[in-house]
């Protein structure tokens, strides 16, 4: 009965939570992206985006998500303020964002997209600060009968 009320009030069952946690952890296992690599990627992302807009580095969140048949990288980076147009450019040529760390050549490329920008949850796809750039994530190890990640870039929500 307690379970019934929990379900009624939207609290997910613990097995559903387990499924979701497993899904996420296996995704990262298969991507063979070590947590420190993800941390480094996050750091570099923030650095690049900070050249254009002021972001809340503390609230940044980078995660990977399985979508249908591809894996998407989601970066939720709250924007605090727009920078002035004439904001000083960084010393390096800023035309291209730096490539994410790629210690090993990927055996199988996985498309990822940076999406979910601007702290406001209602931010739609028209928000100008959206940064959408397909990135090459590290390949997962070859698996048996496993969903294959395609090389098409995932679209942002």
């Amino acid at each position: 009965m307690i379970d019934f009320f929990q379900r009624l009030f939207g609290k997910p069952s613990s097995s559903a939570t387990a499924k979701e946690r497993l899904r996420l952890v296996l995704l990262s296992d298969h991507l063979s992206l070590a947590p420190e690599v993800v941390e480094s990627l996050k750091h570099d992302l923030i650095e690049v985006i900070s050249r254009y807009v002021e972001v809340d580095a503390e609230q940044c969140d980078v995660s990977f998500e399985q979508r249908e048949k591809q894996i998407a990288m989601l970066a939720n980076i709250p924007v605090l303020a727009m920078k002035a147009r004439q904001a000083p450019r960084p010393p390096e040529p800023p035309s291209e964002p730096p490539a994410p760390p790629a210690p090993e050549p990927p055996p199988e490329s996985i498309a990822a997209a940076v999406a979910e920008p601007v702290g406001a949850p209602a931010a739609g796809p028209k928000t100008p600060a959206v940064k959408r750039a397909p990135k090459q994530a590290q390949g997962s190890r070859p698996r048996r009968k496993r969903r294959k990640a395609t090389s098409q870039p995932a679209t942002a929500t």
């Binding site: 379900r7 069952s13 097995s15 387990a18 497993l22 952890v25 296996l26 296992d29 048996r144 496993r146």
Partner: protein, 287 residues
């Protein structure tokens, strides 16, 4: 006590009878490793029970404990008092393999090759272990290898000689994650099948435990069978009597069915134990 080590010579085991038969390649026995990655999911219990069930059904079976340093298959089988030599004695030439095999008196078709308790997994030479298993395959219908937990040297030794693997996985996040890793390490060359162990159907119904389908949505393996979390298993392990030999036990029956699936004598897909709902219980309906 003179009979503690029973030699295989002269016993009418089916595996030995085969030696005289046609081409050895065509009639070789099967080497199956029982593995999981995570410890404590029931690999040893599964090995003991599948071995007992296969042997009780008439096959010549040898169980090889590859968990050197943490030997337990002997005690689960209740044969611990009769082990005189272990796998490293054989590998190092101190005794021939027949001198180390222990015959289970309840099921004479079942033999055990125990692990060394006071040695380390690194002491086992992978090539020599593979050769030993290969030689056992010539004489037995089934060589079941009880793999140690982990994915280090002991795991490498245990899987080296096996061309089939059975993954034992309990319905919890850590076991599934480790099983997923092990499936990747086993590679494409081997047949890999799944046993979901310690399922509690009542918890699954309440949404408090991963279901068999949840587990296999991640592992994508052919399902050999499901074993529920039953007190019989604990009691039988306490006594050193494989539950698969208990005709009255439901969980013993689950092991016997898995053994039949391994042997190919049962081809129906495994039934997944379900808890009946409140209304089904009330009206006596079938799940």
């Amino acid at each position: 006590m003179q009979e503690t080590v029973v030699h295989a010579d002269g016993e009418p085991a089916r595996g030995e009878a085969r030696e005289a038969a046609a081409a050895p390649q065509a009639t070789r026995g099967r080497a199956i490793v029982i593995t999981s990655g995570k410890g404590g999911v029931g690999k040893t219990t599964t090995t003991a029970n599948l071995g007992a069930a296969l042997a009780a059904a008439g096959a010549a079976v040898v169980l090889v404990d590859a968990d050197v340093g943490l030997r337990n298959l002997d005690i689960v089988l209740g044969l611990e008092a009769r082990v005189r030599h272990h796998v490293l004695d054989v590998l190092e030439g101190a005794v021939d393999v027949d001198g180390a095999l222990v015959t289970d008196k309840r099921v004479p078709q079942l033999r055990l090759l125990a692990a060394a308790q006071t040695r380390e997994k690194d002491d086992v030479d992978t090539e020599a272990f593979r050769d030993l298993v290969t030689s056992l395959r010539e004489r037995f219908d089934y060589v079941l290898i009880d793999c140690p937990a982990g994915i280090e040297k002991g795991f490498a030794n245990a899987i080296a000689a096996a061309d089939e693997a059975i993954i034992v996985c309990t319905p919890d996040v850590s076991a599934v994650r480790d099983a997923d890793r092990v499936v990747g390490l086993l590679g494409e060359r081997r047949s890999v099948r799944l046993i979901v162990n310690r399922l509690r159907p009542a918890l699954v119904r309440k949404g408090k435990m991963l279901s068999v389908d949840d587990v296999n949505a991640i592992l994508h393996l052919p399902l050999l069978g499901v074993v529920t979390d039953a007190p019989d298993v604990i009691v039988s392990t306490n006594r050193g009597e494989p539950v698969a030999l208990d005709a009255a036990s439901a969980v013993g029956s689950a092991y016997r069915e898995i053994a039949q699936r391994i042997a190919g004598t049962l081809t129906s897909s495994p039934e997944i134990p379900r808890e009946r709902s409140f209304f089904e219980k009330l009206f006596g309906g079938r799940p």
